[in-house]
Amino acid sequence: MIPDLGKYAAAVGWSYAAFIVIIGGLIALTIYQRKSVRRALKEVESRMGRHDV
């Protein structure tokens, strides 16, 4: 199934790997920030008795 990339296999492989690592890292960071800020917001809102956003 994997195409024969010949002598350029490393260049092609590293290109796709760089894309997956950088975009994957950014997605993971975004999800982590979402979780942590939502948790902190819930705590503060429950302390202050507000649930607007």
Partner: protein
């Protein structure tokens, strides 16, 4: 109903909450089809060999690196003119996404350039202006982080964004302005003209480009929502401290 109503954080959260699942689904679908088609189902080029598969990442990410800055410019102008906080936060949210696209374009360009041009890097107008754009992204993110007052940070970063736009434009038109260096002019819009890109590569490339646009929209929406929540958290904490 006016577009400006969505500058209200609450309205933005409501709308983006409904839109985001669809943009994420479309991103996975379109980008998945484009990359799988490009990687698995395109033949090697007679000159470039299998390195032609790199264009399915390099070209769309390079395009989005510039477009992300243009989006930040529009959002910054809205902040400067109309003082809508959501637009400033959207610009802030887009910067790391634009930086990621710029880094990928630079890395994949170097990986393609080494076997094809015989060098990882050249001080060519397109490459150099892209490197400067990358530095502007870093500076923009650093400036947001360095200034404590968020409105002042939004003002300063908006000015930086205006200045950086010169390099975003240069990145796109560098090859046309200075007809020298290694990097060729854009081939995407030349189909049907002299030296077109073959349809076998052009169609998956267009699908990948659309996928990258959707990826950008999804990430910016998600990150803007995070920024709005973080801003609200900071405001509530400040209010709590003052009580």
């Amino acid at each position: 109903m006016s577009l400006w109503e969505y500058a209200n954080p609450k309205k933005f959260m409501q709308l983006s909450g409904k839109v985001m699942p669809w943009t994420i689904l479309l991103t996975i679908l379109v980008l998945g089809i484009g990359l799988v088609w490009g990687f698995f189902f395109t033949a090697d080029d007679y000159k470039q060999g299998s390195t032609v598969k790199i264009i399915f990442i390099h070209v769309p990410t390079a395009m989005m690196a510039i477009n992300a800055w243009v989006m930040m410019l529009v959002a910054s102008l809205i902040w400067i003119i109309r003082r809508h906080h959501v637009s400033a936060l959207a610009a802030k949210a887009a910067a790391p996404v634009g930086l990621a696209f710029t880094l990928i374009a630079l890395i994949t360009g170097a990986l393609w350039g080494q076997p094809m041009w015989g060098t990882w890097w050249a001080w060519d107008p397109r490459l150099t202006s892209f490197l400067i754009l990358c530095l502007f992204y870093l500076g923009y993110i650093a400036l947001w982080a360095a200034v404590e007052d968020q409105d002042t940070a939004a003002d300063l970063t908006a000015v930086l964004c205006l200045v950086g736009s010169v390099f975003a434009v240069l990145s796109r038109y560098a090859v046309k302005f200075w007809n020298q260096g290694l990097h060729q002019d854009s081939t995407i819009l030349k189909v049907g003209e002299k030296d077109p890109i073959a349809a076998a590569y052009y169609i998956p490339l267009l699908i990948c480009a659309l996928g990258m646009v959707l990826l950008f929209v999804s990430l910016v929406l998600a990150r803007t929502r995070n920024e709005i929540r973080a801003r609200r958290l900071a405001a509530l904490l400040a209010r709590e401290r003052s009580l």
